[in-house]
């Protein structure tokens, strides 16, 4: 088993980050073109804890090199199963994902957590990512090691890209939200003007 771990901070509040997180792979993110589809399978608020649990299915374009693709079976898309847990009181989003494709040969389990930053909890959000990668194909330790090593390197390469892409979504989200508020303000003001006149 190999482990990939990293953490970083976003200059946005936890509320903004946790909302934009739902649009992370949408059209505002120009760097996530490998994500073809994101489907919600179920969603419910636990009446006892108030935690929102969501199950999603993420469809990705296969981007592994040919030697791995032919070793593992050669499909052109891969599926990821994700469950997320949002605790609005503790201000914590936890996302757990695992690969559904090639799951007999390779086990990738990732956990990401978004929480308010310790230093400035109202303005910044901490992102922590941890992935455990285990190749399962029997026997050949050398092949297992190569597959695990390749997967860890992919995580490393994607970490910066993932951050950059999410920054695009956060920026756009803030802009659109500000515009909406401005529009609502104008509408409200004009209603007040109308009421004052008549």
């Amino acid at each position: 088993m190999k482990i990939f771990q990293q953490h970083t901070e976003f200059d946005y509040s936890w509320e903004e980050v946790s909302t934009s997180n739902w649009r992370k792979y949408g059209p505002w993110n120009k760097l996530s073109t490998h994500v073809i589809a994101v489907d919600t399978l179920s969603r419910a608020v636990d009446p006892e804890t108030g935690i929102l649990r969501t199950e999603r299915l993420i469809t990705c374009k296969q981007s592994s090199p040919k030697w791995i693709n032919s070793l593992l079976g050669g499909q052109d898309t891969s599926l990821v199963y994700e469950t997320s847990y949002v605790d609005p009181t503790a201000k914590k989003v936890t996302m757990c994902s695992m690969n559904m494709t090639w799951s007999d040969l390779l086990n990738v389990r990732e956990t990401c957590v978004y929480s308010p930053s310790g230093a400035s909890p109202d303005a910044k959000t901490l992102f922590e990512q941890r992935a455990e990668i285990t190749a399962l194909c029997g026997g050949w330790q050398k092949i297992k090691n190569s597959i695990e090593q390749f997967t860890v390197e992919r995580f490393q390469q994607n970490a910066a890209k993932g951050r950059e892409g999410f920054e695009m979504v956060l920026e756009m989200s803030r802009k659109v939200f500000a515009e909406q508020r401005e529009l609502m303000k104008l509408q409200n003001e004009s209603e007040i003007l109308k009421a004052a006149k008549f």
Partner: protein, 81 residues
């Protein structure tokens, strides 16, 4: 918003996603969520999606994934205060 893996579900998915996002930011995060007002839209989307998942044989793969995910549920459905 992202597309669905089943193109025929895109339209209803889009409507559900917009409903959810509004509910999430305006009600859920502010602690004023009473009922899930997006549920009727979700049911329509789910009906469309489940057909596609069955046709593609993904429903059986999902059963396995759900089974493997039990420990995550046990760990993260508890509130940490």
């Amino acid at each position: 918003m992202s597309a669905s893996l089943a193109p025929e579900c895109n339209e209803v998915k889009e409507r559900y996603d917009s409903c959810f996002l509004k509910w999430y930011s305006e009600k859920f995060l502010r602690g004023t969520a009473r009922s899930d007002e997006c549920d009727p839209l979700f049911k329509q989307y789910e009906q469309c999606l489940s057909k596609a998942l069955k046709a593609k044989g993904i429903d059986n793969m999902l059963k396995e994934a759900r089974e493997d995910n039990r420990e995550n549920d046990a760990e993260h459905m508890r509130p940490k205060r």
